[in-house]
């Protein structure tokens, strides 16, 4: 799975490279941004809000707001990360993206025990993202519209696949319903990815409470 993901990552990187060039970033600047920020949505949005010269604080806050979902994703990794050394856990977290996080979570549910799956696929995604940025910036608009190839639906398609192993069964859908409702509500009214944070926490809290109640009844 890591190789096709790397390829998909190149495709996304192409899109960002083209956009960065149109925004006026030099190749070196676009490359360093992709290599160090390594978060597609926040980089794309930053290009939309870029001014000349750029507003340092505003763009930093914007990036944090869009990437705030990482905080809850990282929290969900605790059972896995706490057994690793400081270096291993932090290297893994540094390359954590939506895609390899979801992949790792789905794999763990299926019985995978080695957290290296997140680090390894994260590195593949990083290489793809940075090289895609380089190609996109160099070729520019000659690339054409990535939407014509359906590249923009890779993420929802991939997430839908990852959902199947995490599916709790029909009788336990209540936390998912709450998570989805809260997420949809906030997505419409609050900027950034707070909708992921709120939906995830609401669903997890309800799931935890229901489990606790069931344990007390049967225990």
């Amino acid at each position: 799975m890591a190789v096709p993901l790397g390829v998909a990552s190149v495709a996304f990187g192409l899109g960002f490279g083209v956009l960065a060039r149109e925004t006026g970033l030099e190749l070196a600047e676009a490359l360093v941004m992709s290599a160090t920020v390594f978060a597609g949505a926040s980089q794309m949005v930053a290009m939309g809000a870029w001014t000349d010269p750029p507003a340092i604080l505003a763009l930093t806050i914007l990036a944090v707001t869009i990437n705030i979902r990482h905080v809850v994703m990282g929290a969900a990794l605790r059972p896995w990360m706490q057994s690793l050394s400081f270096l291993k856990s932090h290297a893994t977290l540094a390359v954590m993206t939506d895609v390899n996080w979801a992949m790792g979570m789905a794999a763990r549910r299926k019985g995978e025990v080695d957290a290296a799956i997140i680090l390894g696929s994260g590195c593949a995604l990083w290489v793809g993202w940075v090289s895609g940025t380089a190609i996109g910036h160099t070729l520019g608009a000659a690339m054409g519209d990535p939407k014509a190839y359906g590249i923009d639906v890779i993420v929802p398609a991939f997430f839908a696949l990852m959902l199947t192993p995490l599916w709790p069964g029909w009788r336990k859908t209540l936390p998912w319903l709450l998570a989805a409702s809260v997420a949809l509500l906030l997505h419409r009214f609050v900027p950034g990815t707070w909708y992921v944070v709120a939906g995830g926490l609401a669903g997890a809290a309800l799931g935890g409470w229901l489990d606790g109640r069931a344990e007390r009844r049967h225990g």
Partner: protein, 100 residues
């Protein structure tokens, strides 16, 4: 301050801020006691997060993401590899965009 400097400081700010979001959750969890409600809630967090990310794609956009989601799940159900599922979904959406 030169304009070049502004660009590099912005990139640095975005990079450091984003890195903090990546490691912040893990650090915060060290402050939270283990066991009981927290452990039970944590086991529900992955699914709740994935559905929270997916729901707006499915319901707040145009037809393309819902079509991709259905195709991916259908192909995945057939037991075919995730590669076929994801790129099959892309190909169908690209084809439909061409036709419509």
């Amino acid at each position: 301050m030169g304009e070049e400097m502004h660009v590099w400081l912005t990139i640095s700010g975005m990079a450091v801020g984003t890195l903090l979001t990546r490691i912040g959750g893990f650090w915060l969890m060290r402050l939270v006691p283990e066991g009981g409600f927290v452990s039970r809630a944590l086991s529900h967090l992955p699914g709740a997060l994935v559905i929270s990310i997916l729901a707006p794609y499915a319901l707040d956009g145009d037809w393309s993401a819902p079509v991709a989601i259905l195709v991916a799940v259908a192909v995945g159900r057939l037991g075919l590899s995730a590669i076929f599922a994801v790129f099959g979904a892309c190909a169908l959406v690209a084809f439909l965009r061409l036709v419509i």
